[in-house]
Symmetry: C2
Amino acid sequence: MELAYDQIDDLCRGAAFLGAGGGGDPYIGGLMIKRALQEGGKVEIIDPDDLDDDVLVIPTAMMGAPTVLIEKLPSGDEVLRAFAELEKHLDRKAFATMPIEVGGINSTIPMWVAARLGIPVIDADGMGRAFPEIHMETFGVHGVSGSPLAIANEHGDYAIVNAVKNQSLEWIARGIAIRFGGAAYIAEYPMSGEQVKRTSVKHTLTLAMEIGRRVELARQSGQDPFAAIIDFLPETHYSLGKILFTGKVVDVKRTTERGFTVGRVTIDGVDQGSLMIEFQNENLIARKNGQVLAIVPNIITIMDVETAEPITTEFLRYGQRVRVMAVSVPEIMTSPAALDLFGPQGFGLKEPFQPMIAD
Amino acid sequence: MELAYDQIDDLCRGAAFLGAGGGGDPYIGGLMIKRALQEGGKVEIIDPDDLDDDVLVIPTAMMGAPTVLIEKLPSGDEVLRAFAELEKHLDRKAFATMPIEVGGINSTIPMWVAARLGIPVIDADGMGRAFPEIHMETFGVHGVSGSPLAIANEHGDYAIVNAVKNQSLEWIARGIAIRFGGAAYIAEYPMSGEQVKRTSVKHTLTLAMEIGRRVELARQSGQDPFAAIIDFLPETHYSLGKILFTGKVVDVKRTTERGFTVGRVTIDGVDQGSLMIEFQNENLIARKNGQVLAIVPNIITIMDVETAEPITTEFLRYGQRVRVMAVSVPEIMTSPAALDLFGPQGFGLKEPFQPMIAD
């Protein structure tokens, strides 16, 4: 399918929801895609199941602190350079690009690359949401190396990184992104079509677009946008969505540690106790009066109680009236190997993973 | 000429002297070369003036904190990997390697590479002494790019860095070296034979070996090793050496800032006032009662008053009896463009460069 201009806002809205409180602002990327379409670019979104086994796919993304991005808008040349340098390093042209992360801004970057280079973007990603580090990928769970990775900045500087372990790749590339001023653009996890089909979380770009569309339709028709999401999810492999809590933000503790936004937020309900959510860029665990209601990798999103607009962890403020939703993630994200990488233990939480159960 | 086993200690002794208080311990590299020769390796040292214009030369080096190196001995595979990956990236085999820095350990690393790969090492370098940062090279003064640079660690991780400016290359590669644990191995400033001839400080490996040999001969025959150096230098393009001061270390202020050893040492003479030396890894400026006696890029080396063994800035201690020597550097290192990069202004000193004058 070809991306229509009026689907861009839907994509951004859905990507913000799937960002689980992090992932960076997709609207910046949305503006970039709009301009590319206005200039005659086209984005062909293709189903991963339609890929030939032996094509080369190179995912593209922003790497760094989302807060930096706001002050340092990408020209776009950075990510095209990273992409081109990785192709040159591999001595092979890529057939398509795709997201490594559907939540937040990284759903939009590959769309822009696709529009500019005239290549397709694949309707799949490697996180099925947003995570803070680039080794937290279903690709890696199933043995795909993130290396070689190309990273570029706005001055024309770039690097190719090869690491034995994906966790080292994250460590090294993160160091470069910091020296590049806190935000950089990457091309990495070069993969075959067969690997994409076997290791990705599928149909997540169209998922984001459909979530965004349903929320907008509900808003326009005066319906409940939360109900619109919850009603839609059973049609997808994100089978269950539910409202965890509604209340007022009464306390936000937030610091910046090792380049991440780390902290916790407390939300008081009218007469039903309080909900506490811990986060590291993304929301990790929600406890109501001490009892775990939802835990990573399931998606926890805090939204404005009126508009259902997601509120990212860096924009949480005292007094906000919010509704907290949780969404269960596809099976490929909850295998033991997946949980090792981006389940509770991957974030140093003591609580084990627990699947969501319908009320 | 082929490097003889008993020249290795001479090389290390001379390289420590040319380290100007920094540059890292050459004896670690010396041990590596000794083992390589024992295992049948040979090191052919060739004159830069004998190079064909169009051969490819790839310098090799250690990058990082010398203090880290002592606790993290190189296996050697790191630098061979950096060298091989840069060759692969350039899609061309190198004819030879060479040092970027003759002072300290980096005089020895390319010798080891030469022994292991069976390629020549060129009798020249890009600093003519030791400097703390990799953009402080006569190569760059004359327009040679340090990029692409390959950097590798002991785990098999590596990166290729391309920066528009050599100063950015230093910044980015330094960041990677820090994430690699504080010390890494690099191959960079890939150059043609013509560029080596035009931009390098020539005959510095044989200079180091001859300084080391003369000091050792003087020690063995009960002569003055300081006089041995001073008598030899007029035969070279490091035309002048002199003793600045003799005394006792009475104060050392030293901190670690941005990965560098920064501080100053005060030396009291018996009845001739005191000498103060400021350093950033290497000694930068020597003032006697406020008057500048020597300033970077001229070489200032603090040595044990008995043995003439150089004392690096991190080993300065209260009570040491020392003699301070200064050596003038070749013309290629004192052009206005060279001084911009590694003269007093390159280190943030207010004092202008002043050539050394014979007493």
